[in-house]
Symmetry: C2
Subunit: 455 residues, 2 copies
């Protein structure tokens, strides 16, 4: 694979107070500032910190409903602010782009609930306004509560992906095919905005969408936003092989990751794509302190503000399983197919009982990987080993405390990673895509189904 | 009516290069900066200027397709950038909110192409992030090209309004009813985000939408964004009487405006609303210079960068009439029902021939009102008279040149208006609604169909 040094680092965020990717209830910790997430100042401060910390990406997850699986209602989610509010991530990015210069932004948008014309327009707007600092995390959504908010029964997993495939056909045509490279003139002297002979309608007519076009935006720096994909199911991997440029890996075992990525890249090559252009990151929840004793003190403090029910409410939503309906010794019948972050999604995981799950959720480190908990030297060594074994290109940082976890990363861990050549000095100019591709291109090539649509 | 001094001033903008509300082709003038509209810096500069100029509102129009009525295709629109690009206005506002402190923002969003759940989430996000500096201009859309981009045949005028009525029912329930005033707790000490017993599902089931809820955002400063409405047709006026807080008047005759507003306010009172809370603004395209000779020089310079076809392409889209299909002496058969800005929409206007229309469009002042062209003293006097006759509360400024028209307003006209007590010193703190209501309330009262939904 391509050289993975220095590593790519993103901050994983969500426009909410109770951030399920860290530990939901830790907004109650006195050092945490997530209660300010309703206020733009919280986000501006955090984005500036991430840029100062030389992060490459500020990433937003998203949900379109409440976590109402646990106990059959949203009571726990509301008590603890589990991924609430669910504010629109896209509406945070322009503000953060206005107050930063280098860091790129990623936003999760579902192909299940948006219309491809409006979606293409939104990302073209963002790609222009951010000068190519934008990525789209393609998801198909899983929460039944979200489906009910849009008047849909939740689509079956595979048919969500079918709709996603057609959605992508449409947006690729709008982004790549509708305007030729030289269709935009933009010249006062020639008194010409664009050359009409080089702008095409798309006239898409499919099972899910009819879209006439032309696209209402000239080619933006990247045209298609940089494409992120997080599905790790068989169908998700096939989708990644076809479309993804950055894979948000849904596993924590280095060898399984290496095999999974290898499979995705082999399939991508079969499909005619350049597998070298597929990058991968994995989530990490570090807990860092200068000494082991201080690490333990931090964990104890986190634990004292941790609520297992809040975390279980998030996990119930991700997995679609209402653990409250199971006795402790009852095995969980339904296999999780949605969430990408937990060990349970690995196909070789043994069947769990509800008691096993509740037991695991007693600890604030239920979602953490021990590799990333320790002194800076320990964690830096573990990261190097993990990267060598797994072949990932970088990490998305989940914060236990915001902005404390980011600050700890920056002050404690980054210097150690820098010594190992794992951090710092990555390209920070130009489009996000150009920073991640081996050829430095701003736009997708003809080997990708988006680039292939260009005339 | 309520005291109209000092007047309310908004800047009318659209996230495009060829701004149809001024004169489309004037982006080709060497002093104009609209060609920078694809770049965030243009917008940041303009918003800062508008705030420094003590404007109350930065307003974005919007379209969701190309102007393809004239000649049956988008060629003229593409040549001249007629309301192109059609970038998403909502994605500009967070950036502008981040770099300003006082000015409020308005955005046009169609009820025809959005889903009410996603829409409610977007405006709740914006109302939180801007601390209540946000307004929604409710439109039902008219461009056939937009309908084709969403796989819809363009809905008949009245059925667009029916859909809009149901759309508003849903968003009002999400904004006002789903969360009680004290449902959000947000307390670290109590370890409580919200009180689940005070958060309701909406369970809307109607002809157009099924939306379960609850809303995914706690009550924002204004809850419902400040509501603007621009329709001036009979159905539009009925809609305004029910919903609008600020009417963007579709007429230029002061007496007709007074009568129209009086009719809307009387109807609002019949419906149980407080008519004092309904405000009105009208568009103005001023051309200002210290002397008459310099005014004429400006007009000559504008004229030399004016293209009648470009302006006619915009007008054809607004009116739905393909003037290219008519000979000069042919009367225009179809009555315009869409556009709110031109004299032709007045019901007492005589039938026009295509030649009449083309004749009018020969001049860069085709859309201007002579009252607002002149020396600062002349225009200030005309504004005072216009306000006294029409009863409007303020104006939306259309710029011939950006930012030159705004700067002219600020340096030449504002001082004269200030002397007359017509400009400056308006409230600039708190929510937009509190600045415009006689009672200073942040939220709608029970007399309004949105406020009436609150428990």
């Amino acid at each position: 694979m391509t050289d993975t040094k220095p590593l790519f680092f993103g901050l994983y965020e969500q426009a909410c107070v109770g951030n399920g990717s860290g530990a939901v209830s830790l907004w109650t910790h006195p050092d945490d500032r997530r209660l300010g997430a309703l206020d733009l100042r919280y986000w501006i401060d955090l984005a500036r910190r991430a840029e100062e910390a030389e992060f490459d990406l500020f990433f937003f997850g998203d949900v379109l409903g409440m976590y109402d699986t646990l106990g059959g209602g949203p009571a726990t989610a509301l008590e603890w602010g589990v991924e609430l509010p669910a504010h629109d991530p896209l509406l945070h990015i322009p503000a953060l782009a206005a107050v930063t210069e280098r860091i790129a932004f990623g936003a999760t948008v579902s192909t299940t609930y948006e219309h491809p014309f409006a979606h293409a327009r939104r990302f073209s707007t963002l790609d222009h306004l951010t000068a190519g600092r934008i990525a789209w995390n393609i998801v198909t959504s899983y929460l039944p509560g979200a489906a009910a908010n849009f008047g849909l029964d939740v689509l079956a997993h595979d048919s969500r992906y079918d709709r996603a495939d057609e959605f992508l056909e449409v947006v690729y045509d709008l982004w790549e095919r509708s305007w030729d490279d030289d269709a935009y003139v933009g010249s006062r002297e020639l008194r010409r905005f664009a050359d009409p002979s080089k702008v095409l309608r798309v006239d898409h007519e499919g099972a899910h969408f009819r879209v006439a076009g032309p696209h209402v935006s000239p080619p933006s720096p990247q045209r298609t936003p940089y494409l992120i994909q997080a599905g790790w199911s068989p169908r998700g991997r096939e989708f990644a092989a076809r479309h993804a440029e950055l894979i948000f890996v849904g596993d924590s075992d280095p060898q399984a990751i290496r095999e999974g990525l290898s499979g995705i890249r082999a399939r991508a090559a079969e499909l005619g794509r350049d597998p070298e252009q597929i990058r991968a990151v994995v989530g990490m929840n570090p807990v860092l302190a200068p000494t082991r004793i201080e690490v333990q003190q931090k964990l104890d403090a986190y634990q004292s503000h941790y609520n297992a029910d809040a975390q279980l409410a998030a996990y119930a939503g991700w997995s679609g399983i209402d653990f409250a309906a199971y006795a402790d010794d009852e095995p969980i019948v339904k296999q999780s197919t949605n969430h990408t972050q937990t060990k349970e999604t690995r196909s070789d995981a043994p069947p769990l009982t509800a008691g096993d799950v509740r037991g695991r959720f007693a600890s604030v480190t239920a979602f953490a990987d021990d590799r990333f908990i320790g002194t800076p030297d320990e964690v830096a060594a573990n990261i190097e080993e993990f990267v060598e074994e797994s072949g990932v290109d970088g990490f998305l940082l989940h914060q236990y405390l915001s902005p404390g976890s980011l600050d700890d990363f920056s002050t404690l861990l980054a210097p150690r990673l820098r010594e190992r050549g794992l951090f710092g000095g990555r390209p920070s100019e130009g489009t996000l895509r150009s920073r991640l591709r081996t050829d430095g291109a701003d736009r997708l090539g003809a080997d990708h189904p988006a680039g292939a649509r260009r005339r």
